[in-house]
């Protein structure tokens, strides 16, 4: 809101008291009217004030002057808003106002003026308007704008002759009624919108914008001047639905002063008479089916202390409320009974009055106290889990990615089989943000693409984030919001480095990382080959299971997606649902005594079918329950020219140990033989030297 320093002086003496613009700006900011800037003009200063949406009473010069007068204890001069007697009898230009929908229009005041000379405004008026950025149009329109900027009440002037039967009907429109508004746009109205109509058709969108047909022109001689009060919600709905926001709608939707219509009308009539020579015809037409009532509230001294935490002088409270034009009805014991002025639509509760006292008392004078806690602060139950994974991933050299939660069906269908069931956004802003993601993978893949574009080809990223899964189909109020961890990696595992061979990031690197993460949470992960995921290479894809339940997936990005995203290197990705994993407390470490006797290691090499899954071998060995066997570790895997077709050579290291004694060679040999026999029997393994 632009407020002119010079204009303010019509109501309060500033210069005389040494209140320069900087001091005024500082004061306004300190009482909640934040001055965001002061524009220096040739002979004026204009404050740009950020008026919060609860204070429509400050969207005008008198309102701001009232706050300044209260803050600095200045006298406030108010303009003459008394009735201007009729110059001519009403019979000359008959008219009437009928309010058909008093719920949306509790009051409609109007006056006919004739002999109006539509012309340029006088210099003083143009200057005032220009100072605050309002373009002068003609004296009649300028006067309505002037009254708006002065009192905050929107007015509208119709060309009396252009109104069908010269009368006004305020009513909800039927669907399909049309109006060409002042901006030249033909608008088709929705049923229920409030319009100002003549005998037949809408001539203005109530409280939003006038119609072109009844606009004031240079030929206009007689006008009907409107000053009404409209229901804020109705104005807001109309303005929103037509995407038409005006100075008038801005004020009406926040709440105009219900006591202002006739006063604003009177001021405008006086000015039109002075400036444009208009003569009033008959008395003010004032239809007021729902009279405004003023709220009466109690303010207790102890409530001020309870909320603000300081004792405020009762005399100060009385003074500030009076200066802000609250009417103090009486002062019972340590309390005030006040009547709220009509323009203070924000005041509806005792604590709203507490704020009035506090902001003028000065927030800077309130001391800083600290309420001692009554218990220790706690992190979320799942935070230690997330921290553990986070620390390990950072340690493995993975950076945390933060992707938008938005996606599109077009993007998700590259990854998941159609139809992709997604949660849609009802009012998306862009074409990329139409739905919510169902997986972290597409976002991570896009992040890899961007990094490659920047020339980074060693990429390791992870993301903790929510995905959104529809429960009952589109448009439902039910959906499942799930926390997941996504991991993606591509490029080198070891960079080429002197004395160290380069190694490419491989599936088993990622698998090892996932195993280590889950182990940290106390889970032993099981991996099961799968071809169910479209976005993964069907030869290099696995489900991840813990406690026999699938919790996620890991694999190499499919060759098709590599092509789509123009990846020239293999990309590995994993996604795991974490809500369940995090629901169990982190495992407490379990101490077991250190072995006092050295263990014995034996390596066993054998050739088996390539199609045999390694997990079956370890499971079979485990099922033997071989005494003192502590560990089976795969130490070599060879497939190639030295072996028959379809065969693979494995070498495992078996570790034997007993807590109470050193094992004898014979015992160990016997155990190795048992295992070796099993491999031969179950898997036709051929032992190698």
């Amino acid at each position: 809101m632009n407020i002119s320093y010079n204009w303010l002086q019509d109501f309060v003496d500033l210069k005389e008291l040494g209140l320069d613009p900087a001091l005024v700006a500082q004061a306004l900011t300190s009482i909640g009217l934040a001055v965001e800037g002061i524009e220096t003009q040739s002979n004026d200063y204009v404050f740009n004030i950020d008026v919060t949406s609860n204070r429509p009473d400050c969207l005008n010069h008198l309102g701001i002057a009232r706050e300044i007068s209260a803050h600095f204890c200045l006298n406030l001069r108010t303009p003459d808003v008394s009735d201007l007697p009729a110059h001519r009898p009403g019979t000359e230009f008959p008219s009437s106002v009928i309010i058909q929908d008093p719920d949306l229009c509790p009051q409609y005041a109007a006056r006919i003026m004739t002999g109006v000379a539509v012309d340029e405004s006088p210099a003083w008026l143009k200057e005032k308007l220009l100072a605050v950025g309002q373009r002068p149009i003609n004296n009649i329109v300028d006067i309505t704008n002037y009254v708006l900027l002065l009192l905050g009440h929107p007015l509208h002037a119709f060309d009396y002759e252009k109104l069908g039967e010269n009368r006004i009907v305020v009513r909800r429109v039927a669907a399909g009624e049309k109006i060409v508004t002042l901006d030249g746009v033909e608008r088709t109205l929705e049923a229920g919108m409030l319009a100002i109509c003549d005998a037949a058709i809408p001539v203005a969108l109530a409280g939003v914008m006038g119609g072109q047909d009844s606009e004031i022109s240079l030929r206009t001689n007689t006008i009907l001047l409107e000053s009404a009060y409209f229901n804020p919600k109705s104005i807001r709905a109309t303005s929103k639905s037509l995407a038409l926001r005006t100075e008038a709608s801005y004020r009406f939707e926040r709440g105009a002063d219900p006591e202002m219509p006739v006063k604003a009308l009177n001021l405008a009539c006086r000015l039109i008479n002075q400036i444009a020579g208009g003569q009033t015809v008959g008395p003010v037409i004032n239809e007021n089916p729902v009279p405004a009532s003023r709220l009466v509230l109690d303010l207790r001294e102890k409530r001020i202390r309870q909320v603000v935490g300081v004792d405020v002088e009762p005399g100060f409270v009385t003074d500030i409320l009076t200066r802000l034009q609250f009417e103090i009805l009486n002062q019972p014991d340590r309390a005030w009974k006040v009547r709220v002025p009509g323009f203070r639509v924000d005041i509806g509760h005792e604590d709203d009055l507490v704020e009035e006292v506090a902001r003028h008392f000065g927030y800077d004078k309130i001391p800083s106290t600290y309420p001692a806690p009554t218990s220790a602060g706690r992190f979320l139950p799942a935070q230690p889990h997330e921290q553990l994974l986070l620390q390990r991933l950072l340690g493995f050299g993975f950076y945390e990615a933060v992707n938008y939660v938005f996606s599109t069906p077009a993007r998700e269908k590259l990854f998941f089989p159609e139809p992709v069931s997604m949660v849609a956004i009802a009012n998306p802003l862009t074409e990329e943000d139409t739905h919510l993601r169902t997986s972290l993978v597409p976002g991570l893949v896009a992040s890899v693409r961007r990094n490659l574009n920047h020339g980074t080809d060693e990429i390791r990223l992870f993301e903790f984030g929510h995905v959104f899964l529809p429960v009952d189909g589109a448009g439902s109020d039910r959906l499942q919001e799930e926390s997941r961890l996504g991991i993606i990696a591509t490029g080198t595992f070891y960079r080429p480095y002197w004395g160290q061979a380069q190694d490419e990031f491989r599936f088993f690197h990622l698998k090892g990382i996932v195993e280590e993460l889950l182990a940290g949470l106390g889970y032993r992960a099981v991996f099961e080959r799968t071809e169910d995921y479209r976005f993964l290479h069907h030869g290099v894809a696995s489900r991840v299971l813990v406690d026999r339940r699938p919790i996620g997936v890991i694999g190499q990005l499919s060759p098709e997606l590599n092509e789509t995203f123009k990846f020239l290197q293999r990309v590995f990705v994993a996604e795991v649902a974490v809500d369940n994993l995090f629901s169990r407390p982190l495992p407490e470490p379990q101490y077991s005594p250190l072995p006092r006797f050295p263990g014995t290691e034996r390596d066993l090499s054998f050739v088996v079918d390539k199609s045999l899954e390694y997990d079956r071998i370890t499971a079979a060995i485990k099922s033997l329950n071989v005494a003192n066997l502590r560990d089976v570790q795969l130490i070599d895997l060879y497939q190639g020219q030295k072996l028959p077709f379809g065969k693979v050579s494995l070498a495992v290291r078996l570790t034997f140990a007993d807590l109470t004694r050193t094992l004898t060679q014979e015992e160990v040999n016997k155990s190795v033989d048992v295992i070796s026999d099993l491999l031969k029997r179950e898997f036709q393994a051929e032992q190698r030297a």
């Binding site: 900011t29 300190s30 909640g32 934040a34 919060t52 949406s53 609860n54 807001r236 709905a237 939707e253 309870q306 909320v307 603000v308 935490g309 924000d346 604590d351 709203d352 704020e355 506090a358 800077d364 309130i366 001391p367 800083s368 106290t369 600290y370 309420p371 806690p373 009554t374 218990s375 602060g377 706690r378 992190f379 979320l380 935070q383 986070l390 991933l393 950072l394 050299g397 950076y399 945390e400 990615a401 933060v402 992707n403 939660v405 956004i425 009802a426 009012n427 802003l429 961007r450 990094n451 920047h454 390791r460 929510h466 959104f468 439902s476 109020d477 070891y494 960079r495 004395g499 160290q500």
Partner: protein, 342 residues
């Protein structure tokens, strides 16, 4: 005869030979030559002592023992020298160029948003606040209605909202967590709610449809605006620096009354005025206020008994300020060139 004249050439010969010795083997040979039990030159002289008369013997014996001691000492010294030489030769041979680069053990740094959030959480937990969370897709009731923003309320405009259905929104703030907490828990309440929030905003250098917030709530008997001031001040001093000053300005948020905007003294110029604070010396950092009694009414709290304060601040903006990141998009671009700077 073991006289000085007789032994002196022997000593000189030994010294001459010792000077030539440079290996363990040569030293052993030299030791044998002079001290071996059977034929060492000094040993031979000692054996001859028996042939001397009783008068001559003590004097000659003394001289010979002195000589033997000198030889032994010289041999021991030489042995030390040889060991030193060998050690240094080995070091020389195994020397590496310590200026060669170390092998890469690459660990990643925290995302700047995570860094800031963790730091804030740590401070608040130390002040007795517990952390709470809630869903990102939220029911209209929790996001607006229960926060004194009924449908058609002008303040809803300030938070342009992404809707899923008429009843579901992408939460525009983490305030719904406050309502959910107060529904479940009776006072005293002392919580913070960090998380992602959403607005119907297009992406540019300072706007994003998704960003991060941290909000706080304290409800108990006797909680005042002065407590709000003190609590926020304590946090901001811990987060920025002990000399941080704060300023409260009256403002409006539907869920608080009285409401305030909180400024901190500029963290760059310490309040003297610079380009970052636009010469004002202050930076707007959060919105705050006393919980509106209408919110307590909706929740069924007795507002005559309990009062409370709440505040909320944007984490991304603080990250941008703190690290002088000029473009908000960098926080969501996942560019490793950017992330590796933290």
């Amino acid at each position: 005869m073991a006289t000085v004249e007789h032994l002196s050439p022997l000593w000189d010969a030994f010294r001459k030979e010792l000077a030539e010795v440079s290996t363990d083997e040569a030293l052993t040979d030299l030791r044998d030559k002079y001290l071996s039990r059977s034929r060492g030159a000094v040993t031979v002289e000692l054996k001859k002592l028996g042939q001397l008369s009783a008068e001559e013997r003590p004097q000659a014996g003394k001289l010979l023992n002195e000589l033997k001691l000198l030889v032994e000492q010289a041999l021991a010294e030489k042995a030390g020298e040889i060991r030193e030489k060998q050690k240094s030769a080995r070091y020389q041979a195994e020397r590496v160029d310590v200026t060669l680069p170390g092998y890469a053990y690459h660990t990643a740094g925290r995302h700047p948003i995570r860094r800031a959030l963790e730091e804030m959480e740590r401070i608040f937990v130390s002040m007795g606040f517990s952390i709470m969370s809630g869903p990102e897709v939220e029911v209209d009731y929790y996001n607006f209605e229960a926060l004194n923003m009924p449908k058609g309320h002008p303040a809803r405009d300030a938070q342009d909202t992404l809707y899923v259905t008429d009843n579901l929104v992408l939460r525009t703030h983490t305030s719904p967590v406050q309502i959910r907490t107060m529904e479940k828990q009776k006072p005293p309440v002392r919580i913070i709610a960090p998380g992602r929030v959403f607005r119907r905003d297009s992406v540019d250098a300072t706007h994003s449809p998704m960003f991060h917030q941290i909000e706080g709530l304290v409800v108990d008997e006797g909680i005042t605006l002065a407590d709000l001031k003190g609590t926020i001040e304590m946090f901001l001093k811990a987060f920025f620096s002990e000399d941080t000053r704060i300023r409260l300005r009256p403002s409006y948020f539907p869920f608080v009354e009285p409401g305030a905007e909180v400024d901190v003294s500029c963290i760059f110029c310490r309040g003297t005025g610079c380009s970052i604070c636009k010469q004002s010396g202050w930076i707007e950092i959060m919105g705050a206020g006393m919980v509106n009694p209408r919110v307590f009414q909706i929740l069924g709290y007795d507002y005559e008994k309990y009062t409370g304060f709440a505040w909320g601040m944007g984490v991304d903006r603080i990250v941008m300020l703190k690290y002088q990141v000029e473009d908000l998009r960098l926080l969501f671009d996942n560019d490793i060139r950017f992330l590796s700077q933290f």
